[in-house]
């Protein structure tokens, strides 16, 4: 190790927020996932919530490795099941701020049902979806966010199916806060996660992110920096949730803008578990039929 790298490693202000004993990490050069983790830990530090009250839950995938690198109670669960696991924590300990960080496939293909139901309940969760338009970990197969026409290892002639528009899906399902940024928009992404951490109810933040190893290579997007340049040129910040088609992402049509922004920020009743005052203690029809034990 050179003297310079030793100084950087010792002094980085985010070190206490990361499990630096796990570095080097497994992510590829140019991958966007590290940037999302960075935005999350900065939002966590800025949230005013004590670090011991933050919990991070992930599913499976490259994005799912996020939970392994953050220095708070963290759980790397099963593919698609991060949200219900997080829900169990959030319900048992409502004082905790539980954040789910996972991939597009994990949260919206295999885990799609949990996603819409947690939004419907307006569960106190911040869900960060790292959308790299494919299944990175398994080698770049098509998923529910792969744009039509994009090339993947399971769609060699271009993806045929229509993709999800995740912000639209989250809003329709009942989320209180919905944003989309890219990893180029580091400050906005951090602030959106921070807003999510501070807002009661279900917050959803989509983070568009390069996967240069798989999606980037297959679609001639170049390395991570080159894909960031695409974001820089084509992203348009909008204030309101755009129409369904305007949310589409298309890497082939170079004229087409990519809509980003904090689209939805509304106050809806956050999830409240049924309280102690809701019912009589003993249901009808369960009266004791004999004497209490001991008197018999």
């Amino acid at each position: 190790m050179t003297a310079t790298s030793a100084v950087i490693a010792r002094d980085h202000p985010n070190d206490p927020l990361l499990r630096s004993d796990r570095f080097p990490h497994i992510l590829c050069p140019g991958c966007g996932i590290g940037t999302v983790i960075h935005c999350y830990v900065e939002a966590m530090a800025a949230s005013g919530v004590p670090l011991d009250n933050h919990v991070c839950v992930s599913g499976i995938g490259c994005s799912g490795r996020a939970a392994g690198y953050v220095n708070v109670d963290s759980y790397h669960t099963a593919h698609g099941r991060a949200i219900p696991f997080a829900l169990g924590i959030a319900i048992h300990k409502p004082e905790l701020r539980v954040t789910v960080i996972s991939g597009d496939g994990d949260l919206t293909a295999i885990g799609g049902n949990h996603f819409i139901h947690a939004a419907r309940r307006n569960m106190n969760l911040t869900v960060v979806c790292i959308n790299n338009f494919n299944y990175g970990m398994t080698g770049g197969q098509a998923g529910p966010t792969s744009p039509r026409g994009s090339i993947t290892s399971t769609a060699p002639k271009g993806v045929h199916d229509r993709p999800f528009n995740l912000p639209d899906l989250a809003r329709a399902a009942g989320a209180s806060f919905v944003a989309r940024w890219t990893i180029l928009h580091v400050r906005q992404l951090r602030d959106a996660i921070l807003r999510g951490l501070q807002k009661p109810g279900f917050s959803f933040i989509e983070a568009l992110s390069p996967c240069p190893t798989n999606f980037g290579r297959a679609n001639d997007l170049g390395d991570g920096m080159a894909e960031m340049e695409v974001y820089r040129q084509r992203c348009r910040i909008v204030q309101e949730l755009p129409g369904f088609d305007e949310l589409d992402i298309d890497f082939v049509d170079e004229e087409r803008p990519i809509a980003v922004g904090n689209f939805v920020d509304i106050d809806r009743h956050p999830y409240q578990p049924v309280g102690a005052d809701a019912f009589d203690n003993v249901p009808n029809g369960t009266q004791r039929v004999h004497h209490p034990v001991g008197e018999e």
Partner: protein, 386 residues
């Protein structure tokens, strides 16, 4: 839960005339369940319905999840945060839970899964009895792992064994199954619930150091092979993963770590089998024919043994209260006596438990099976015993 008036409300001490499913729900309450996540399915629904009313009233939480994939994962999350947690389902839902049961075993998150068995496979006969998930309980998730399964034969045992299942899950940090069946679930009988302070409660082992004082190793173990459990939100900065991991909970993807970890997960149960296991014996002393049965079928078996004895047949019953661990040692002891001539295994499946008995003996193992919807009657068993 520690709060005394609440404890009184939780435990409906007294003598009741109670449905098996309701007795299970009361066992959950008396056993200290903090969280129930479930999805309705016959013949387990009455458990959820009762807990939906009763649990919030005593400070617990009830959530009706979107499916069983969610139910099981929500109870695992709650368990990670310190809750005693339980879910209830039947075959189709039990199948959906399988992947996450392996996660519970791997992360060592205590949990109880109630499976009220109905006639299967697939949708089968939803309202009628089955006992055909018994091998699935043992082997259903991919890989080797430790677990325990109990099978109540009466509403009273639905209560008692739910409490016991919660204790075993916490003590060994394993998934525990309560393998009920439709007959027992929908049977109403006398249930005696003891005074609150007489309900035995065993809790998971907790770290013996304060957070921050020293580095917490979530998977460091002593002689018993069971790690102390720190919960989310306590400041220990726990990490858990379903990947093969080291003492820190960090992925350690080597065959040697994997071999040691999986062996420990299995040995936690294997080495403590004598403490976890339960069975009872009826007329076994001089028995030449040993009937081995569990759940509803053991009721027919007991009646058949009684009738056969009256007619001079030397037979007895080994009733499995825990199906897993299986009382291998006890069966070996019976065989060493030299008096046993044969085994008879009645069950509402096509011979799942019979295989387990055959593994232990060269003697004939006669089966009495029904695929589901009806159970062997005392007459069916008596015919084989005489």
């Amino acid at each position: 839960m520690s709060d005394a008036p609440q404890r009184e409300q939780r435990v409906l001490s007294g003598t009741h005339f109670m449905l098996g499913d309701h007795a299970c729900a009361e066992g959950a309450l008396a056993g200290g369940v903090d969280y129930f996540g479930g999805y309705p399915i016959t013949p387990s629904t009455e458990i959820a319905e009762r807990l939906a009313r009763r649990l919030p009233a005593v400070g617990g939480k009830y959530v009706q999840m979107e499916d069983e994939l969610g139910s099981i994962m929500s109870i695992l999350g709650a368990s990670a945060a310190g809750a005693r947690s339980l879910t209830a389902t039947s075959g189709p839902g039990f199948s959906l839970m399988m992947e996450s049961i392996g996660l519970a075993a791997m992360m060592e998150l205590p949990c109880v899964i109630v499976d009220v068995q109905r006639a299967s496979p697939s949708t089968g006969l939803p309202t009628m009895v089955g006992q055909s998930d018994i091998l699935q309980a043992r082997w259903g998730s991919h890989g080797d792992y430790g677990m325990a399964a109990f099978s109540p034969a009466s509403p009273q045992e639905c209560f008692d064994l739910t409490v016991h299942a919660l204790n075993v899950a916490d003590q060994y940090r394993i998934p525990v199954f309560l393998m009920m069946d439709e007959v027992v679930a929908h049977m109403t009988e006398r249930v005696v619930i003891p005074p609150a302070d007489e309900v035995p409660l065993v809790h998971r082992k907790r770290p013996d150091h304060k957070p921050g004082a020293q580095r917490h190793l979530p998977y460091a173990v002593g002689e018993d092979g069971v790690p102390a459990m720190a919960h989310a939100g306590e400041g220990y900065k726990v990490h858990m993963t379903g990947l093969t991991h080291d003492e820190r909970g960090y992925p350690a993807l080597t065959p040697a770590t994997h071999n040691a970890l999986v062996n420990r997960l299995v040995d936690k149960v294997r080495h403590n089998a004598q403490h976890i296991m339960r069975y009872d014996e009826f007329e076994l002393d001089d028995a030449e024919t040993v009937v081995i049965a569990f759940g509803c079928t053991s009721r027919s078996a007991r009646q058949a043994v009684r009738q056969a004895r009256q007619r001079g047949a030397k037979c007895g019953l080994l009733r499995l209260v825990s199906v897993w661990p299986f009382p291998e040692q006890r069966i070996r002891e019976l065989l060493q006596r030299g008096t046993v001539r044969r085994f008879v295994v009645p069950e509402v499946n096509l011979g799942q438990l019979r295989r387990e008995v055959e593994r232990l003996t060269q003697l004939p193992v006669q089966r009495i099976n029904h695929a589901g919807g009806a159970m062997p009657t005392p007459a069916d068993i008596l015919e084989v015993l005489l």
